[in-house]
């Protein structure tokens, strides 16, 4: 997924002279083709994220479209004030391509896990937050980033994730997608948890539970209309995210439900990382397993909610 995102920066730069790339001490050879063909628009800066954000804001105020890439947690937590003031208050066209959103860097420990990135950025006016489910969706998203107004945070997953999205309907930033209709339960996902929801829905259908799925690649601005329509009928709604349950997709959907005036019998649960720093290493999958962000957990949660 990261490769596709960076390849797309190259493609966009080839066709639009406003596009720049700024990395923060990335791996040797990153975007070598970009560097050799458009050296004046390729910047490999040091380990100074706060400056990278401010510098990008200065360039964007002059009409450029800088695409930045570094590790998600350093892109967000480390320079939150620069994102808030330099990017969001000025409302500039800077694209934050954040590697390792979620628990991708599980073996590297809590310093490298971005499990609250969506929550903290969601509080910022003018910020757009997108978490694609697979590399194909990333490609479609990147095409949309060129002429979109304001800062965009793109959460990049591990890579080699199974392709689960479709070219139709066309990808639009700000749109949620009904991946599957269902009348008993609704699963709401963002990023790579879509695949887990699809597996869970298949399992639930086998047991006679009609299960719908809404994929929400854009968490902000949230496609409230699509969510309200999809949530109207099912008795149970479950959100699944590779993120703390505080402030991310689950919270955003909970806010919609709370204000919608649905019947009190409608059940809702958030599946995600609990309010604690992950205390194990291992792999992305093993940490997801530890925190029950699995299709098995989705099935049992839905079953429990519908029974209760």
């Amino acid at each position: 997924m990261r490769k596709v995102a960076l390849d797309m920066v190259y493609e966009l730069a080839k066709k639009d002279p406003r596009v720049l790339f700024i990395g923060s001490d990335l791996g040797a050879g990153t975007l070598a083709k970009f560097k050799s063909e458009m050296p004046e628009r390729f910047f490999m800066e040091g380990v100074s994220e706060a400056n990278m954000i401010g510098m990008a804001a200065g360039l964007a105020l002059e009409g450029k479209i800088p695409y930045l890439n570094t590790i998600a947690t350093f892109m967000t937590r480390r320079c939150f004030d620069q994102i808030a003031i330099d990017l969001c208050l000025h409302n500039v066209n800077v694209r934050l391509l954040s590697s390792g959103g979620g628990v991708v860097y599980a073996p590297l420990g809590p310093t490298h896990l971005a499990v609250e990135d969506i929550a903290i950025l969601r509080a910022l006016p003018n910020m757009t937050i997108v978490a694609p489910a697979d590399a194909d969706e990333m490609r479609r998203l990147m095409l949309e980033t060129l002429d979109y107004r304001g800062p965009i945070y793109v959460r990049i997953a591990k890579g080699n994730d199974p392709i689960v999205t479709h070219p139709e309907p066309p990808f639009r930033i700000g749109k949620a997608y009904v991946m599957k209709e269902g009348t008993d339960a609704l699963l709401v996902t963002t990023g790579i948890t879509l695949k887990r929801a699809m597996d869970a829905a298949a399992e639930l259908e086998k047991g006679g539970v009609s299960t719908g799925i809404v994929h929400v690649p854009t968490i902000k601005p949230l496609d409230v209309a699509t969510l309200l329509e999809a949530m109207a009928r099912p008795r149970a709604v479950v959100t699944i995210e590779e993120h703390t349950i505080l402030g991310g997709l689950g919270s955003a959907v909970a806010e919609v439900i709370a204000e919608a005036g649905f019947s009190p019998s409608k059940k809702f649960r958030r599946i995600g990382i609990p309010d604690a720093f992950p205390d194990k290493y291992g792999s992305q999958d093993s940490l997801m397993e530890r925190y029950s962000i699995t299709s098995r957990e989705v099935v049992s949660t839905v079953t429990r909610l519908l029974r209760g």
């Binding site: 004046e40 628009r41 910047f43 800066e45 040091g46 100074s48 706060a50 400056n51 990278m52 954000i53 401010g54 510098m55 990008a56 804001a57 200065g58 360039l59 964007a60 105020l61 002059e62 009409g63 450029k64 004030d81 620069q82 003031i85 330099d86 208050l89 000025h90």
Partner: protein
């Protein structure tokens, strides 16, 4: 540690800044600041008086600007990174015609555009929204890089406070400015040596400040930041080096021109300014 140009040396820029007398225009600009303070009844007044002559020379004589077209692409970019010094900037922008002078009387009011920190988009002529310290230089670096990409000949000026230079992001930006050899970028330090709580020597010493900037790849000059001729000469000499960004360390006096502000650190930021306060400030300005 004493500053490199210690006030104990009477010929140092720091010592001269204490003695430099203000001319009629500098006094008049300060009168206008007090008019704004009377309207808003608050403000970072001393922090606006230390860079007053720096901004005056920049806006009167140095910057290439068109007030009728504030975003003219060939304009020089000037960022007041120490945004709390904005009273001085507002007075000059109004004089130049970026917005009507009546706006000054709505300082910090709900129907005005001039807040306690300057905002781009709200205030014509303001290049960046500042107030959170340590942001302006990075933005200026981006603007200076853009000039190089566009082969444009505009220059970029960034005014930093001294307390602001406690922020690590300032030094991140300094390294990057020097790496990219941004010779059309000029950083101006408003070195008034007084922070909110106490002096820079007590709270967080910056010395040796000139050596710091020099070691970060800047070509450095030091001047008395209230001496108009010294400022003009420094600006005329830009760039100080053909392949380096420039740094003008301006030795200034916090509250310059109003004795009570020069003497009392409690005035750093004052809300609820009374009629009696205003009288004292005005009397002090006229008597000095």
């Amino acid at each position: 540690m004493e500053p490199s140009s210690a006030p104990s040396d009477p010929s140092s820029p720091a010592a001269r800044a204490l003695r430099t007398r203000l001319d009629a225009r500098s006094k008049d600009l300060r009168r206008k600041i007090l008019t704004m303070v009377e309207a808003g009844r608050r403000g970072h007044i001393p922090s606006a008086l230390s860079p007053m002559e720096i901004l005056r020379v920049l806006y009167d004589e140095v910057l290439r600007l068109d007030p009728r077209n504030p975003l003219w692409k060939d304009r020089d970019r000037c960022i007041l990174s120490k945004g709390h010094g904005c009273l001085a900037l507002y007075v000059l922008l109004a004089e130049k015609g970026f917005f009507p002078a009546e706006e000054l009387l709505k300082y910090c009011k709900s129907d005005g555009i001039l807040g306690g920190h300057p905002e781009r988009g709200k205030v014509p002529g303001v290049e960046a929204s500042t107030g959170s310290l340590g942001h302006g230089l990075s933005i200026g670096v981006g603007m200076a890089i853009n000039a190089r990409l566009e082969k444009a000949d505009y220059r970029t000026f960034v005014i930093l406070g001294d307390g602001e230079q406690n922020e690590g992001s300032v030094w991140e930006a300094a390294m990057v400015a020097s790496k990219h050899r941004l010779n059309r970028l000029t950083v101006i330090s408003d070195y008034n040596k007084r922070m909110t709580y106490d002096s820079t020597y007590v709270v967080q010493d910056l010395e040796p400040l000139a050596a710091k900037w020099s070691s970060f790849g800047f070509e450095v000059r030091e001047v008395d930041g209230h001496d108009l001729e010294a400022l003009r000469a420094a600006f005329r000499a830009l760039p100080f080096h053909p392949e380096k960004p420039s740094q003008i360390i301006c030795h200034t006096v916090k509250g310059k021109g109003i004795p009570v502000l020069e003497a009392d650190p409690a005035w750093h930021h004052k809300p609820k300014i009374s009629d009696a306060d205003l009288l004292m400030l005005r009397d002090g300005l006229e008597a000095s």
